[in-house]
């Protein structure tokens, strides 16, 4: 199998940052907060670059949807070895409401436009934890999907995917073109090297708007409220086992 791989990368709040909810409970604070590439997207980029190094595919195209700052995330992927980038510009209110359905429509449109043979995405983003974009993209394109991939092997023009599922590991063989979503143990992303960071400056990032792809990004969801998780309360000490059972029944736990 030769050809083009499309990798989606998302700019999210850095995993080490302590999240704070806005006082009006409308969303989380993002202004002035450190952002970086979603860790599962890093794993997706690494897998695509490895496939290129093994000459399984020819070109790695990195896509990100969002405001101007999304270009930083694309540059990081270029520094890891991707060949070129596509920035789909979505700003303001549109960006706040951008979710898996809209992104998967964009990815599907780009897959057709770029004649991609493979789409690799992170299994989920660490901000919304939706775990939907890969699956929706595959459905829109009517392509097979290998989600939660912890191992990928090419077998001719099919892909063998070892998936991490609740019960253990499941192996499936899917035809290409296909959508893969990367799980934690698929690989360990490389550090960008200083020379690659400098080379990345010269790589191209194309700018598009969703309208250019004839994609409607209106949201079908409305976020009503965002709250912090409940504060952990103090426990209660009990004297006897009977007391414990009674208390648990009272709390509706058993």
């Amino acid at each position: 199998m030769s050809g083009r791989v499309l990798v989606g990368v998302k700019r999210v709040i850095d995993y080490a940052v302590k999240i704070r909810v806005k006082p009006d409970n409308s969303s989380v604070v993002t202004d002035g907060v450190k952002h970086s590439m979603n860790p599962f997207c890093e794993i997706a980029v690494e897998e695509a670059v490895k496939m290129k190094e093994k000459k399984i595919i020819k070109e790695v195209v990195v896509v990100s949807c969002g405001p101007q700052q999304a270009q930083e995330t694309i540059r990081t992927a270029l520094a890891m070895g991707a060949d070129r980038g596509i920035h789909v510009e979505v700003t303001g209110k549109d960006y706040e409401q951008l979710g898996p359905l809209q992104v998967s429509k964009i990815m599907a449109a780009l897959a057709k436009k770029e004649d991609a043979q493979l789409i690799i995405l992170g299994k989920q983003a660490i901000d919304d934890d939706c775990n939907q974009t890969g699956q929706m993209t595959a459905a829109l394109l009517d392509w097979p999907q290998g989600t939660f991939a912890s191992e990928l092997t090419m077998e001719g023009d099919k892909i063998k995917v070892v998936r991490e599922i609740d019960g253990g590991l499941e192996t499936v063989k899917i035809n290409t073109p296909a959508v893969i979503t990367a799980d934690l143990r698929l690989n360990t992303p490389r550090y960008a090297t200083l020379p690659n960071i400098m080379k990345a400056k010269k790589k191209k990032i194309a700018n598009l708007k969703p309208a250019d792809l004839e994609v409607d990004i209106t949201s079908r969801l409305e976020v009503l409220r965002v709250d912090e998780p409940p504060q952990r309360e103090a426990g209660v000490k009990v004297e006897t086992v009977d007391d414990l059972v009674a208390r648990l029944k009272e709390a509706g736990r058993i």
Partner: protein, 419 residues
């Protein structure tokens, strides 16, 4: 010391209960530059932010987890440094055609500052190695550059810088190691003191006397390990910088080929001083990284530790103290970065600015780390907590690469010389 004994017992109980998350918490995630006003990414170009990100990630993943062990067991982390070299950190400001990364002094400062948050001692050695590689790249002829630089940039070979002697530290120009020309070799006799990496490194950039007294009689020779007549003293026991060995380097009728001389005879001292300008920015940058990490650690401790019914972060004295630390950190950083830019552009104020930056940043950052240790209370004194290692490691930055007293000499000379 009885109170320390009691504190130690309490601390040991405390750490054993919450050992997993407390200590891990203390080390791993906190150096990612999150607190906004001291974020070292401010004012950088997108490309510099990428360099910084790689350096921070490398520091957090490859250095922070081992920093304490390298210090306690005095391990010279060759494999980790080679990994760093593969990313381009072996010859950051060396030219690409001989294997370097060809970056600017400012890029270099940003990188060393970030790496230092992972381990000051190792980063400081990497910066000395970089300085040596640069000297050969800049002052060597093409044959020498091709012979030495590629291996140094990949850290296939490690380098040491040999200027200081038992009898000449600040008064560097009075060095006594002689190099007498005999046919096509120089015969070296003398010894160098306090050489970072000495005994474990492969390439020694040695300032020695080929001519008469004073700076004009000094030349620069590259001596390779294994040369007969080259030997080393015992490994010194130090307060910090323990991940790099420090030894005396001894020359006894050591024959070094003339083709190993960088530039002409008599140019050695000027080369040494030019190397040190960059070296001073690098060392100051290492201090910045330590101070940054310490401010993060202190901040996090204040948010967690409770006394008198509330977290320490509610105490106005500590709030103000933290603000002062942050302000001095940012002021130091700005001065160091400006000096780096001045050196890159070859500005007339470059030498004084490098001296000012080294003086100011190393002094202020040591105070910042020391204050951060104080904020930790008794815990700050325990080796389980990283802050004490930052204090110990950067203390020497006020002494080497030109003492802060010598920095004052350079600056006052600039002010008082009638021109």
């Amino acid at each position: 010391m009885a109170t320390v004994g009691r504190l130690a017992r309490i601390a040991r109980l405390g750490t054993s209960i919450c050992k997993n998350h407390r200590l891990y918490f203390n080390r791993s995630t906190q150096r990612r530059g999150i607190a906004s006003c001291v974020d070292p990414a401010h004012g950088l170009t997108d490309e510099q932010k990428e360099f910084q990100k790689v350096a921070f990630d490398f520091a957090a993943n490859e250095m922070t987890p081992h920093m304490a062990e390298w210090d306690q067991k005095e391990i010279f982390p060759v494999e980790t440094m080679r990994k760093a070299a593969q990313l381009g950190f072996g010859g950051i400001y060396v030219q690409p055609e001989v294997g370097g990364s060809g970056l600017s002094r400012l890029d270099t400062s940003v990188i060393f500052e970030a790496l230092s948050t992972g381990c000051v001692s190792t980063t400081a050695y990497i910066s000395i190695h970089n300085m040596c590689a640069w000297m050969i790249d800049t002052f060597g002829n093409n044959e020498q550059r091709e012979r030495f630089c590629p291996d140094l940039c990949m850290m296939e070979k490690f380098a040491s810088y040999c200027l200081t002697e038992p009898g000449s530290g600040s008064d560097a120009a009075s060095l006594l190691t002689t190099a007498k020309l005999k046919g096509d070799h120089y015969i070296l006799n003398g010894s160098k003191a306090f050489i970072s990496g000495g005994g474990d490194t492969d390439v020694y950039v040695v300032m020695c006397r080929t001519g008469g007294k004073g700076p004009k009689g000094i030349s620069c020779l590259v001596v390779e390990k294994g040369t007969p007549g080259l030997s080393f003293g015992k490994k010194e026991k130090k307060v910090g910088w323990n991940s790099q060995p420090t030894r005396a380097v001894i020359f006894e009728d050591c024959a070094v080929p003339v083709i190993n001389r960088l530039g002409e005879e008599g140019q050695g001292f000027s080369m040494a001083m030019k190397g040190l300008n960059g070296g001073r920015i690098n060392i100051a940058s290492c201090s910045l990284g330590a101070a940054h990490a310490s401010v993060q650690l202190a901040r996090d401790h204040l948010l967690v530790r409770k006394q008198f019914g509330e977290t320490l972060s509610n105490n106005q004295y500590l709030q103000f103290k933290l603000a002062e630390m942050a302000t001095k950190l940012v002021a130091s950083r700005l001065l160091v970065r400006e000096a780096a830019t001045a050196l890159q552009e070859n500005r007339p104020d470059a030498v004084s600015l490098c001296s000012m930056a080294k003086l100011f940043a190393t002094d202020e950052c040591f105070n910042i780390c020391n204050d951060a240790l104080q904020m930790h209370g008794g815990y700050g004194y325990l080796k389980d907590y990283a802050v004490q290692q930052f204090v110990r490691d950067i203390r020497v930055h006020q002494i080497l690469e030109g003492t802060n007293e010598v920095m004052r000499m350079i600056i006052s000379r600039n002010l008082l010389t009638e021109s």
